[in-house]
Amino acid sequence: MLTLHCPYCGVHADETELASGGEAHLKRFGPGASDEEFEGYLFMRENPKGVHFERWRHAYGCGKWFLAARCTNTLEVFGTYPAQTTEPPQHVRDAISAKRPGWKWREFS
């Protein structure tokens, strides 16, 4: 039963108020994309034991989607941030580096 801080309304939301939305920072591929690109976009997902980036929606609260960086192993949360970004913000990356030096996730580190 996680709690995640909603960066929009400031509530430390109980998991029962949230809806999970899978992996974060996917790049959309549409018409014109190759089969490989489209397959990667639709189906290929990370499954790490450790640092991971996820989409969550404060479904029973303010209704906003946000992103969370957390450890799938210890459930430690490194940070949550608004969804309107294509990459983790620097302060979140720094927070992860402080706890998990040398971390890597897709193209981010």
């Binding site: 039963m1 996680l2 309107q84």
Partner: protein, 1005 residues
């Protein structure tokens, strides 16, 4: 015999007698008794029989760890099996029966198993019931079901009359355990000004210290407890709760507390149990320790009890277990029991101390009281059947040669204490093996961690492995201060009151008594009393290769009983380690999982029972439908009228009547459940062009268009009519089940992908009631009400208009899901019923009647309209349904477009939608598959299609169906076979899916 002593018992009120019954026998106890102490006070030593061998079993403990004393508590609607007598508070009128025997507790046929025990080794069931295969179902399983199980399940028709509820709180420090450690930790954290909650599972504060003696700050422990409670009660930031067990510790500081609100007073009004859902920054687990039994032959005979429990019954309840009690131990603590008994004037014939070097100061005190102490000795076996009659003594170092027999009627045993590390371990706290004390204790360097990566559980006192009173107080104060600092208080003091310290001689691990016990003795040396697991069983498991402690547990069932091995686990894994020739920490423990002891299903369900088991969504006209006797069907959480049967009608007849009425005159449908999403903004058109497969940006203001929505996978996910309200506003209708889902879907794309597009979406589904008035006379009904022009010219098909009907503001959409002249009227929900009533009145002369969802389904199927969820199942693309016309070729992109270009999606062999009609006019079975020639790789018939919708059409007076069929649209007129589950083969002809009014003349009027 066990009996009530003439005086004593700190928890009982001798001034107030309490009547209860056990197996129909009327007995009495005192207020403050547990069921266990009251039974023992009545010399009811034997309380049940064991699971496998049906051996007589007596109470062995005094707390939550009790494995034997399980009863069926209550009767009828109140019956609850497997209730522990040691944690059941006595109340007037309590009625219970013992378990796991037939025909009676005293004479039990199943006890024959004990003589067969050499044929019932570990893994017996796995080995025995494999062959012959056919025996399982008709011989073995019925036999096992008859003889297995503990308590009696409540009758199938019984209904729990009690209520249950949750309670959510947030705390800085949650202290679990109301012994002196928990009290001290709560004081420390409370004085620092934090929000502190202290939970104690029993009905009394103080824990063991008040039983064991000792002084704190120069006064008896009880004085410290009283003063602590008084101080804590005076702190507004501290909350105290008795009868509330810390049941489980979960991620991010989430803890469940199980409060038994009125188990002790069932006549008291209010909830029976309350499940506390706590979010806390820090947890202090001051849960104490549990005494371990010793493994000697006959250690399960009633009258053999944990030494600490024997002491508890004397001090807390004024109950003695026997007149002559032999104490057997490997540590100093058990001497306290001997001393307490002696001081009560009871006889202690001997203390059998397995340690060659004997005990410390407490042993000297015992000798000074005149108690015989035998060092280096062991119990070879306990004499007696349903009750202890004596013990045979041998050398601990030997194989069990009897040196002497001592007559006694009770044995108090102690194999040392194990910290209760459950709450520490639930969420990942690690343990270390403390060799000198022979116990696992929390490893403070590896606590369970929370959202910030820091530890959030701290153990205090005995739960942390501190057994000496002075050490307990220091440890508890430190834990309190550490938790307070972690929760943000900078001013926490870790000062602890001084307590007296007793120098104890070290414990000596004794896992088997005597250490060289022969097989006969080992087969009578019990580890798990409830599940009948013996030393010999664990050794056999090791020999057969079950080396992992988790495997050995499941093979032998050690620790799998309702007590989850609270007494047996450490002893069992020590035996396993010995058998495997490896040190205990290498074997490790099994996993500690919540809850600490079983909690009621009622508490888990909380208030969600009966009519509030789950939310039921009601339209503004729901009460009217109910009053009309509508037969409802669930559609998501909505309840929609399926049909409105009249007196004497079957549902089928009602549906047919409703359909004929719509086709011939006029009917009304409550369409309020349809989703309504307002999409607005400068980029709304562009956004909807991405959401829908067809073009929405070019829809003219005032017009409506049917649209399809696909997932990024290309699959059809929803459909509905979109209306252009003004230059930058569209209203999107979704399916009933789609409103929330599609709203979330739109928000997802707007927030996470196209966040720079200026579009807002609001779900106005519930703001509006929507009423469909449908049928050739629909216009006349509206015209009768008056207020706006609903003529063909003013309001043509697929347009909408705002206006008033008889004074009520409405928006009318001329859309049709039935092929009839149809008006869907949206009105503020608060006036839905008023408008409905007016329409009913105006339609009376046309025989207007409401129709339900089944009529709706048949009406649309007659017209060949698809239904999301019938024609689609998450694997169907619009092209499969011949909806190419609704897929834009002009748009460069929309959700699903790229996916629909994938080879499998463009495969000409995908099954496609057709109409189906049986040759004999009957109704095709729903979901039936059409078979093709040949067989597949699994030897099954090849398939070439399936039925997606099938109905009896009253309009055509025969069965009609739709289905997806291989090359279907190219095979018009062909007949294919649909084998039914009834053994018949249904022959159906492939036809056009539009069965009725193919040219749409009826709706274009």
């Amino acid at each position: 015999m066990s009996t009530r002593l003439a005086k004593g018992g700190r928890l009982v009120n001798r001034g107030r007698k309490v009547q209860f019954s056990f197996n129909g026998k009327n007995l009495s106890g005192f207020e403050g008794d547990t069921l266990a102490s009251a039974l023992l006070a009545n010399d009811q030593m034997m309380v049940g029989r064991s699971f496998k061998y049906h051996r007589p079993r007596g109470v062995v403990a005094a707390g939550a760890e009790e494995p034997n004393g399980l009863v069926n508590l209550g009767e009828g609607n109140q019956l609850e099996p497997n209730q522990r007598v040691t944690t059941t508070e006595l109340f007037d009128g309590l009625s219970c029966t013992s378990q796991n025997h037939w025909p009676s507790l005293e004479f039990d046929i199943g006890a024959v198993n004990t003589y067969l025990s050499r044929f019932l080794p570990a893994g017996f069931y796995y080995k025995m019931f494999m062959y012959p295969r056919a025996f399982w179902k008709h011989v073995y399983e019925p036999f096992i079901r008859q003889s297995a199980g503990l308590g009696r399940a409540p009758d199938a028709h019984a209904r729990d009359q009690d209520t249950y509820e949750y309670f959510h709180i947030h705390a800085d420090v949650l202290v679990i355990g109301g012994g002196v450690a928990g009290l001290q930790a709560a004081l420390t954290a409370g004085r620092a000004g934090l929000r502190v909650v202290l939970m104690e599972q029993t009905a009394a504060w103080g824990g063991r210290a008040v039983v064991d003696g000792g002084t704190i700050a120069g006064k008896p422990a009880q004085d410290f407890v009283d003063a602590a409670i008084s101080e804590l009660q005076g702190m507004p930031n501290v909350h105290l709760r008795l009868r509330c067990m810390g049941a489980g510790v979960y991620d991010h500081g989430y803890v469940l507390g199980y409060e038994r609100v009125n188990d002790h007073a069932p006549k008291q009004a209010g909830p029976r149990h309350r499940l506390w859902k706590v979010r806390t920054a820090q947890v202090i687990s001051a849960t104490g320790a549990i005494e371990r039994p010793l493994s000697f032959a006959g250690n399960d005979i009633p009258g053999v009890m944990l030494a600490g429990a024997v002491r508890d019954y004397v001090v807390n309840f004024g109950v003695s277990i026997g007149d002559r009690t032999v104490v057997v131990t490997n540590n100093d603590d058990a001497y306290r029991t001997a001393i307490v008994l002696k001081e009560q004037g009871l006889s202690v014939p001997a203390i059998i101390d397995a340690r060659a070097s004997g005990g410390g100061a407490l042993a000297d005190q015992a000798r000074a009281l005149g108690i015989r102490v035998e060092n280096g000795r062991a119990i070879a076996k306990v004499k007696g059947g349903r009750r202890v009659t004596g013990v045979a003594i041998c050398a601990q170092a030997g194989e069990g040669a009897v040196l002497e027999e001592i007559a006694c009627d009770a044995v108090a045993m102690s194999g040392g204490w194990s910290p209760v590390v459950h709450l520490w371990s639930h969420c990942g706290g690690k343990l270390v093996w403390d060799a000198p004390k022979a116990m696992f204790r929390p490893n403070p360097d590896a606590p369970p961690t929370g959202a910030d990566g820091q530890g959030f559980v701290i153990c205090a006192g005995a739960a942390n492995g501190a057994f000496d009173l002075a050490e307990v107080m220091r440890d508890a104060a430190q834990a309190g201060a550490q938790a307070a600092r972690a929760a943000g208080a900078s001013n926490a003091s870790d000062a602890a009151p001084e307590a007296d310290s007793v120098v104890e001689a070290p414990l000596e691990p004794v896992w088997l008594m005597p250490q060289g016990a022969n097989i006969k003795l080992r087969m009578k040396s019990w580890l798990d009393f409830q599940n009948d697991v013996k030393v010999a069983d664990v050794q056999l498991a090791a020999r057969e290769g079950f080396e992992s402690v988790e495997h050995a547990k499941r093979y032998t069932t050690l620790g799998m009983a309702t007590d989850q091995g609270k007494l047996s686990n450490i002893n069992g894994l020590a035996i396993l380690s010995d058998a495997l020739g490896q040190p205990i920490p290498q074997t490790g423990t099994t996993t500690f999982r919540p809850p600490y002891t079983p909690i009621s299903m009622g508490a888990i369900a909380g208030e969600a029972r009966g009519k509030i088991f789950q939310p039921i969504r009601r339209t503004p006209m729901h009460a009217w439908h109910e009053a009309q006797g509508a037969y409802f069907e669930p559609v998501g959480q909505w309840r929609r009228p399926y049909c409105y049967p009249r007196s004497g009608e079957t549902h089928g007849q009602a549906v047919s009547r409703e359909i004929r009425q719509v086709r011939n005159s006029v009917g009304m449908l409550d369409a309020s459940t349809l989703g309504k999403l307002v999409v607005k903004g400068p980029d709304a058109g562009r956004f909807l062009d991405m959401m829908y497969t067809n073009m929405m940006s070019n829809l003219a203001v005032g017009k409506c268009r049917y649209g399809l929505m696909c997932s990024e996978n290309g699959f059809l996910m929803d459909d509905g009519v979109v209306a252009r309200i003004d230059e930058d506003t569209w209203l999107c209708h979704t399916t009933t089940g789609g409103a929330d889902r599609i709203h979330a879907h739109m928000e997802d794309w707007l927030q996470c992908e196209w966040w720079d597009w200026n579009v807002y979406v609001t779900n106005v589904t519930e703001q509006l009631a929507q009423i469909a008035v449908v049928g050739p006379n629909a216009r006349k009904v509206l015209e009768k009400l008056g207020g706006m022009d609903v003529s063909k010219e003013a309001l043509p098909f697929m347009q909408w208009a705002d206006g008033q009907l008889d004074g009520i503001a409405v928006r009318i959409y001329r859309i049709s899901f039935s092929g009839e002249l149809s008006y869907e009227i949206a009105v503020d929900a608060g006036q839905g019923q008023a408008l409905w009533d007016k329409l009913q009145a105006a339609g009376a002369e046309f025989g207007v009647m409401p129709y339900g969802t089944e009529a709706l389904h048949v009406l649309r199927a007659e017209k060949g309209f698809i239904m999301i969820g019938d024609e689609t199942d998450g694997t169907v693309i619009p092209q499969d349904l011949n909806l190419h016309w609704a897929i834009s070729k002009k748009k460069t992109d929309f959700l699903g477009k790229r996916a629909q270009e994938r080879s499998h999606m463009a495969d000409p062999n995908r099954w496609r939608l057709v109409g189906l009609e049986t040759l004999d006019g009957s109704v095709l079975p729903d979901g039936a598959y059409a078979v093709a020639d040949g067989h597949n790789a699994n030897g099954q018939r090849n398939m070439q299609g399936r039925v997606t919708s099938t109905y009896y059409s009253p309009t055509l007076d025969r069965g009609i169906a739709m289905g997806l069929v291989l090359h279907g649209p190219e095979r018009m007129g062909e007949v294919i076979d649909f084998p039914g589950t009834d053994g018949k083969v249904y022959k159906a002809r492939i036809v056009d899916p539009v069965f009725f009014d193919k040219d749409g003349e009826k709706q274009n009027v």
